[in-house]
């Protein structure tokens, strides 16, 4: 019997497998394929203070071993989430973590204040790294002072587990992580998408309506693993790793690099049952290697 329980500060997860925001809807989209209760938790779509229509179509381009997206935080706003979606998912026996985005510090704080009273929401992930909207936080996420400023404000507004999601589009992600740790973040998750671009040369125009978009998928995994490894050596708070995880091996790679938990993102688009397969593969690996507690291998590199 392998112990897969991991802790992200006060948040106890039954296993280290979470889903990445924006790749798993509100969980319900996947309930035909998997038992959501098996997950360590799932992180719902980026939520903003007000309804957002997102960017115009086209929003997606396939790239080698990856994809670009430029959704632009389309969502119905935090009030709609609380009134219409939260009641449908609050009964689940798994953690529901809300990803929070904003254009201003006040926006972030307002969303956090609305989420804080919800019993089922024991953690939020604050997105300071969305590359797809002018005011999607990436401006905050690419400087230590900007990242610290957001963290400080939401820390006051949200007393439960606060995860800050970091941008990889920086010279030193470890420095950004240290800045948010200093302002009281309980955990950092990384990496958000790498800013990328693709051009349809036959039509001589960009594939995305926004020209640039966020690159995800296994293409970025080596960069993500490196950043997790650097960050885990730089901070004392738990790190959540993501970026191109397609199977149990990939999840274990992030954990060995220093991640206490992982988020599965783009892989959900290709295999909607991948999350539970990854949990099974992690278990099988631990059994095969005589590992009784998954925490033994966290950060062994």
């Amino acid at each position: 019997m392998v112990n897969l329980n991991v802790n992200i500060a006060n948040l106890q997860l039954k296993n280290p497998v979470l889903t990445a925001s924006g790749t798993f809807g509100y969980g319900e989209e996947f309930s035909d394929f998997i038992d959501l209760n098996r997950l360590g938790g799932f992180i719902v779509k980026g939520t903003t203070l007000n309804h957002r229509e997102g960017n115009p179509y086209p929003r997606m381009a396939e790239t080698p071993s990856g994809m670009l997206n430029a959704v632009g935080l389309q969502n119905k706003g935090v009030d709609y989430f609380i009134d219409n979606i939260y009641p449908r998912i609050k009964h689940l026996d798994t953690h529901v973590i809300v990803n929070v985005s904003g254009a201003t510090i006040d926006d972030y704080v307002a969303v956090c204040e609305k989420l804080a009273p919800l019993d089922k929401i024991n953690a939020i992930e604050v997105n300071i790294s969305c590359p797809n909207v002018k005011q999607g936080g990436m401006a905050f996420g690419t400087t230590c002072s900007g990242a610290a400023e957001v963290t400080k404000a939401v820390r006051r507004a949200f007393p439960k587990t606060l995860i800050v999601k970091l941008s990889p589009n920086v010279t030193s992600i470890a420095d950004i992580a240290k800045a948010v740790e200093a302002e009281g973040a309980d955990s950092v998750s990384l990496i958000n998408t790498l800013l990328g671009m693709a051009i349809d040369v036959e039509r001589r125009r960009p594939y995305l309506s926004t020209v640039t978009g966020g690159l995800s998928g296994p293409a970025v995994r080596p960069v993500a693993v490196r950043m997790v490894w650097q960050t885990a050596h730089a901070v004392n708070i738990p790190v959540i790793g993501l970026g191109g995880i397609m199977n149990g091996r990939d999840a274990l790679e992030f954990m060995m690099a220093g991640a206490s938990a992982v988020e599965v993102g783009t892989a959900n688009f290709i295999d909607p049952a991948i999350t539970v397969k990854i949990i099974d593969e992690i278990t099988e690996y631990c059994e095969r290697h005589g590992i009784s507690d998954i925490n033994e291998i966290v950060g062994i590199i």
């Binding site: 924006g22 790749t23 989209e29 997102g54 179509y57 997606m60 994809m67 389309q74 783009t266 688009f269």
Partner: protein
């Protein structure tokens, strides 16, 4: 409708043309799930180095008694090329059924099912279902040339077929929108094909005062309403083609 992830065996790969194959698939160790006309499947491509995502493909035909699913695949890029390479006995993994579907009309009437190129695919199954339910659909098929008119004999089994080819090698010469079938009155026109063709048919429908439903094929990643990539700008704002579509009444669109 409950969705499944299922492995299918390739029973037949019928090459209709350089660019098109009819893949006849049967689920391995499983009954074919309920699938409605107009729905689509997401096909995993395991034999292409350069293909990462699944490929959304319209359901062409469903044969519940034989447990067979037909997919009409057009070679558009590396992913669909790899699907065209599949041989009998090979396995392909599908997520299905996806999207909304054509709804049976409340009253009898005259229904035209128009397809352009590979867009004829959903019209075969939809025609069959209409026919089984006592309706008498007619088809309007358009393509560049006679050889691009796909599955003609199948359509003819179900109802009258009007044809337009750009080079006049079969049926009327010219675009589908100029076909004399569109001079008749219809209670509903269903249309699937390239966007310019659907927009043109929708325009004709509007002029002749007929309702029109179209099947959109926006680029998509998940097909499940999670990634929010395949949105269409509608009168209700941006909605996912994969869940609120692919079938839209043109009144809902901002065309």
């Amino acid at each position: 409708m409950k969705k499944f992830i299922l492995d299918f065996e390739v029973v037949e790969n019928r090459r209709l043309h350089d660019l098109y194959s009819l893949l006849i698939l049967s689920p391995i160790g499983h009954d074919l799930p309920d699938i409605r006309p107009g729905q689509f499947v997401q096909v995993a491509v395991d034999n292409s180095k350069t293909t990462f995502l699944r490929r959304p493909i319209s359901v062409n035909y469903v044969d519940k008694s034989d447990n067979m699913l037909w997919l009409l695949v057009r070679k558009a890029g590396d992913g669909t090329s790899a699907l065209l390479q599949k041989s009998p006995g090979d396995t392909v993994n599908l997520v299905l059924p996806l999207g909304n579907y054509f709804k049976l009309p409340a009253n009898c009437g005259k229904f035209l099912l128009a397809g352009g190129g590979v867009g004829v695919a959903p019209m075969l199954y939809w025609g069959k279902v209409l026919r089984e339910n006592g309706f008498n659909p007619e088809f309007l098929l358009g393509a560049r040339s006679a050889k691009d008119i796909l599955e003609l004999e199948e359509f003819e089994k179900i109802g009258p077929v009007h044809i337009s080819t750009e080079d006049g090698s079969l049926g009327e010469k010219g675009l589908v929108t100029l076909n004399s079938a569109l001079e008749q009155t219809w209670d509903m026109i269903y249309c699937c094909g390239p966007a310019p063709m659907m927009k043109a048919v929708a325009n004709v429908a509007k002029k002749i005062g007929t309702e029109c439903e179209v099947s959109l094929e926006n680029m998509m990643a998940c097909g499940l309403g999670a990634c929010l990539c395949c949105v269409e700008n509608t009168v209700k704002g941006n909605v996912c083609v994969c869940t609120e579509g692919p079938i839209f009444n043109t009144r809902e669109l901002t065309w």
